[in-house]
Amino acid sequence: MAFESTAYKVVRYVVLVLASIFVIIPLIPLIFMAFKTGAEYSSTSVLTAPESFFNFYNFSYAIRVGNLGKAFINTAIILTISLAFQVTGTAMVAYVLSRFDFMGKKIVKTLFTLTMFIPVVATQNLIFRMMYAVKLVNTMWSVIILYSGVGIVGIYIMLNQLDSISKEIDEAALIDGAGYFRTFVQIIFPLMKPACTTLVIINGIGLYNDFYIPNLYLNRDVQTFTVALYKFFGSMATPFEIVAAAIIIGMIPIMIVFIFLQKYIYNGLAGSVKM
């Protein structure tokens, strides 16, 4: 890196501190609110700190009344199954595209690439009717099926990884009589683990945060965590300090994932631009 003058270093810290304030200010009242009693909430300003940061009543109330535990389990089931399908499917498509030349390869690639032009919101009108016709609306399977598709960004992440795995490895396995399927399952797929991890994290965050699809397809009995938070806050009867506590609970899983896996998040997002 080039020489940096003292003035530039000062400018850097000023910019970063201001930006951090910009990020943090909207969050402060939410955190304060979650620890306030009902009476405190209505009598104090949003920027007044709560009397005690050990008042966990709102949190326990939110978990009990909002059915958050059940919603969390639903989300976990949906995410696990969908991500397993997504990663396996993406690895399979990428492997075939990377190692084989065949008739129609260009068409297959184009079909996947063109989905960039198709916004999810512009397709649900008809998909909802299809799901309804096969009686999958209000079951987790509608959401799982929709989430299990193979996306072009994932294909590129996997293709990059496959480029770095020597084709001689495949050839050696084939000569040893492993067959295409076993070569992929036992030798290549395990080598693709870093790309799979990136995909799981990036898409996992996306699916955990998704509101549009589960809100459209799932009712109260099978709702996901994000929709449970929404239902909670949509019913005006819930006191706002309880909503604030529920929202903070909703932030915890994503923050934990971020703290431990931030390297993958930066790499994955930066990598998706290079396609």
Binding site: M1, A2, S5, Y8, K9, V15, L16, A19, S20, V23, I24, I25, P26, L27, P29, L30, M33, V46, L47, G89, M92, V96, F100, F102, V108, L111, F112, F117, I118, P119, A122, Q124, N125, L126, I127, F128, R129, M130, I145, L146, S148, G149, V150, Y180, Y208, F211, T226, L229, G234, A244, I247, G250, M251, I254, F258, Q262, Y266, L269, G271, V273
Partner: protein, 283 residues
Amino acid sequence: MKSKSRAGFIILFLALPLIHLIIFSYVPIIGNFVLSFTNWKGFGDIEFIGIRNYRKIFTNPEYISMFKNCAWYFLAAIPQLIFAFLLAVVVNGKFKGLNIFKGILIIPYLLNGVIISTIFIIFFNNTGTLNTIFGAFGLEALQHQWLQDLDLVNPAVASISIWRYYGMNFIMFFGALQAIPTELYEAATLDGCTKWQEIRYISVPFIKKVLFINILLSVSGSIQVFEIPYIMLNGSNGTSTPVIMIQQSMSENRAGFAAALSVLVFVIVLIVVGLQKLLVKED
């Protein structure tokens, strides 16, 4: 080699992903196009009514205003991109606290629409964060009913997308800046370039492509706005968007009309992404 098993393997691996792709991406787009010329309810008979759905969208001021609302979200993208670029430039380097700042700056990007909507209902409420801050600095003249005032509600809600999405632009810019060879900066320093000249003549030209991708992502994102105005206001106070209207038409059993709106959203995204592919290829 065994060409039969080779072909079988390729088909085995591509079949399910391709079927999924066709059923859930291509069939609905083509289906919507056909249905947009009908008054289908979502069940029962289908009757063709020509371009009546489209005419309704383009003549009713209520529907036109939904598309105009999208313009606010695009306007918000301008400060958002400048802010993200500025941050990427100052973060690019080695200094104390780098990881802490990076961690803080990425928080909004990790939060979902429900969480962000709640945060900003508190922020824009009449006794909320923004008005409280104005009050504390004696700026009562700036206090407004942000979510009730029909002139202010759309810019207020659209400005939330700056907070929400600048982190994504920031990561992309940052990734692009890191790809610039350091020798370039070293040579520039030897030649006596100022930091400002470095940014102007090395950083900006190098990340032009990424900047362009980000601008187009913002346009195509603006036309698909749904979560924040839907969750915060249910599209009321004139904050409806085309996607909120699609959802509403679906629940009112106006599948034909929803199809016409979907086609319009699709066509706009198609033009924007197509433009991106075309121009990026020229580079």
